[in-house]
């Protein structure tokens, strides 16, 4: 919209050069939230690509019944590592680490996070944990084959390298806790003058809710992982039925973290969508308070529903009833968000650029994922589709179709701000379109397969499932082609695309009020906030 002001001749300016330091050490030891944000971005994104590759291999193996390209043990390792990489190394640290770090301090009008050195330490812990996980794949008894859930007693007995992998996840979890502590403190203490809680951008609200989940849930994962290692190394037998332990207790402890972890993955994604929709509808957000409140409500209610993963594990009927009820409660704040987004779109002046397309597809795919979640949340229907491909399809609709698509939306929305250059619009839309089509072929087919009774994590299947499995694999290839086009276009654009001005989209949040790329100090002088985050007129945007 704005003709480029303050344009620099060749790409980089702002925090890229204004400290006078370049080279690798100025990055990996930097305490600047923007540099750390980009470190996080490239690390989590690297692992995302690894996860994609593993996922594609899983789909090729399942393309036809029987052995296609690998043996059963390799297959078991593959779906385990795919899950561990995607969950613990990509999407859990993904939003908070990359876009949280890049954007949140600027959005609240601060120079940095509350604890910049701790922030850097979090990234180092993440890298250390990731290195340990990678090491576990190639040493000892080989890559773990337990599934990313590490269910006992199998994970105690398998000869694969579970202990080391679990230790790596523990370290990554510690990193996540420290990020949570840092963000809650930052949002409480470092808001600029005039940045009241009611003027906080909704992305920040979602990060705030997420940070609380990280603080309150991750320690339970920590102790659970320690217990797995103790089971394996010391033989404590706390989850071993032969020794008086109860495997169900493992499942409780694991899901006390890992269900809320789903909200660590999806809440910031909802925040991204909430930022994109009003800007591309040229209209203030509808229902600011309810969206902010619903983030907290999802975080709170979502922490009490873990038992719905265990309806078939032998819990009491009372527990099943309570957990089922609470699961339905989570649907309410989620629906509040969806209705508010749709109301924002109503009579807006909608501009269908790449970030907006991802945000709109988020609403659709997340709604499908969320509603199929209710099928799983109701005990009566869950018993039929539990541990089938229906669950796999549902989960990917929420986390890939939801969080993943929002992540791509955020990449197109915010990365040009930090690189100073943008992607080309047409290839981005082509890439998005292919991804959207491929995605639905890939995962909707899985849900149908699940309804027909195909179990998940099985290496082989009955001949009647062959046709749909083939279709699903075709979908994965369309998705991959779309993804390749999208990424080549985006990254080429960030390197050598058209330069962008300070406010290419016409947003009213603070990050659009400072130069592109932002200087290291963010604001030349401490800002005083006089208007809301979606008050476009107050921000002087016609």
């Amino acid at each position: 919209m704005n003709p480029a002001e303050n344009m620099l001749p060749a790409g980089k300016g702002g925090f890229w050069i204004d400290t006078g330091k370049t080279g690798i050490a100025s990055w990996i030891f930097s305490t600047d939230h923007k540099r750390i944000g980009l470190l996080y971005f490239w690390s989590v994104f690297g692992f995302f690509l690894v996860g994609v590759l593993l996922g594609l291999l899983i789909r090729i193996e399942l393309m036809a019944p029987g052995r296609t390209i690998m043996g059963p043990q390799t297959y078991n390792a593959l779906f385990t590592v795919h899950g561990v990489v995607m969950v613990f190394l990509f999407i859990i640290p993904g939003f908070q680490g990359s876009f949280g770090n890049l954007v949140m301090p600027i959005q609240i009008g601060s120079r940095d996070v509350a604890f910049p050195r701790l922030n850097l330490f979090s990234w180092w812990l993440y890298i250390a944990g990731a290195a340990i996980i990678l090491t576990s794949l190639f040493t000892g008894g080989g890559p773990p084959d337990t599934g990313w859930t590490f269910y006992l007693p199998f994970s105690e007995r398998t000869g694969t390298n579970v202990s080391l992998a679990v230790f790596g996840v523990f370290i990554v979890g510690f990193s996540s806790i420290l990020t949570g502590v840092n963000f809650v403190t930052t949002i409480h203490r470092l808001r600029a003058e005039g940045m009241t809680w009611g003027r906080l951008p909704l992305f920040v609200w979602s990060l705030y809710a997420t940070a609380w989940v990280q603080i309150l849930a991750t320690p339970i994962l920590g102790i659970t992982l320690v217990l797995i290692i103790a089971e394996r190394l010391l033989g404590t037998g706390l989850f071993d039925p032969a020794r008086g332990g109860d495997p169900l207790m493992y499942q409780h402890l694991f899901w006390i973290y890992s269900h809320p972890a789903v909200y660590i993955m999806i809440l910031p994604a909802m925040g991204v969508v909430t930022e994109i929709i009003p800007v591309f509808s040229r209209k203030p957000i509808f229902g600011y308070r309810m969206i902010a409140f619903s983030s907290l409500a999802i975080a709170a209610a979502g922490s009490l529903v873990w038992g719905h993963h265990m309806f078939t594990s032998g819990m009491s009927d009372t527990a099943i009833l309570v957990f089922s009820f609470l699961t339905f409660v989570v649907a309410i704040p989620s629906a509040i968000k969806v209705f508010n987004w749709v109301s924002t779109l109503y009579r807006g002046s909608i501009s269908l650029e790449a970030p907006m397309l991802f945000a709109l597809s988020f609403i659709l795919l997340f709604s499908i994922g969320g509603l199929t979640g209710l099928i799983l949340g109701a005990a009566a229907t869950d018993i039929h589709v539990h541990d089938t491909h229906f669950v796999v399809g549902h989960f990917h609709y929420v986390i890939f179709g939801g969080s993943g698509f929002a992540f791509f939306g955020a990449m197109h929305y915010w990365l040009p701000k930090f690189y100073g250059r943008r992607y080309a619009e047409k290839p981005a839309i082509l890439g998005w379109g292919l991804m959207f089509v491929g995605f639905n072929i890939l995962y909707f087919t899985m849900m149908v397969l699940g309804m027909e009774g195909m179990p998940r994590r099985y290496y082989d299947y009955l001949p009647e499932f062959a046709r749909l499995n083939f279709v699903s694999t075709m979908g994965s290839w369309i998705l991959a082609v779309g993804l390749a086009i999208l990424l080549v276009n985006l990254f080429r654009g960030l390197r050598s695309g058209e330069p962008v001005g300070n406010n290419p989209w016409g947003g009213a949040t603070l990050e659009w009020s400072i130069p592109t790329p932002p200087p290291t100090e963010n604001f030349a002088k401490e800002p005083v906030v006089t208007h809301g985050p979606y008050d476009f007129r107050g921000a002087g945007i016609p």
Binding site: F115, R189, L216, P219, V226, L227, T236, G237, G244, E526
Partner: protein
């Protein structure tokens, strides 16, 4: 363009309190297992609990409560700008931490001498609830002992910094947060002690 570097004391303390919550929850997982298994094996837990050595536990309780008092006094001493006293008090806390670990070592040694450790032949042959009790005992006190060690190291660093004068009445957030951490270590023990040594 550069803004003055300012220290946000309230922020640093808020961060520490949040971190302490996560520590409580870490132990919370073990206390949860204790509660569930106690309700499942009340008799075995009671029998095993009666065999615990109350003397070791009591000595450690006294040591930890004393150390918490010392570190709290150290904070007051620093606020009054009495460096020598603060140094002695923090040093005393570190000594208490060391004594605690020695006592814990002696206690574990005694238990292992009785053939009680995870996976030991005696526990494998005995009732299932007993094995669960002792596994939980070793894990909980082990994790707590690790925190005593970390807290002791942290306070040793603080003591050095008090001695050097880089922690003083104008800037004592390190000491205050170190003391908060140490109170957490103490507090967790205040729950471990009755649950394993007294109530059963």
């Amino acid at each position: 363009m550069s803004q003055p570097t300012h220290k946000d004391y309230a922020g640093a303390k808020l961060g520490m309190w949040l971190f302490l919550f996560t520590e409580l929850l870490l132990f919370g997982g073990l206390f949860l297992l204790y509660a569930v298994y106690l309700s499942r094996y009340p008799h075995e837990f009671a029998a095993a609990g009666r065999e615990m050595h109350l003397v070791f536990g009591t000595v450690n309780t006294v040591i930890l409560i004393t150390s918490s008092l010392l570190v709290a006094m150290a904070v007051t001493a620093v606020k009054r700008d009495d460096h020598r006293l603060a140094f002695v008090l923090v040093g005393g806390t570190v000594v208490c931490a060391a004594f605690f670990l020695v006592d814990k070592y002696l206690e574990w040694g005694t238990e292992i001498g009785r053939g009680i450790y995870p996976g030991s032949p005696r526990l494998v042959a005995g009732p299932a609830g007993e094995s669960v009790f002792y596994s939980l005992y070793y894990l909980t006190t082990g994790l707590h002992g690790l925190h005593v060690l970390i807290g002791g190291i942290l306070l040793a660093v603080v003591a050095v910094r008090v001695g050097r004068g880089s922690i003083h009445a104008g800037d004592y957030i390190w000491l205050e947060n170190g003391a908060l951490y140490w109170h957490l270590v103490d507090l967790v023990w205040i729950f471990i002690f009755p649950l394993y040594y007294l109530v059963l």
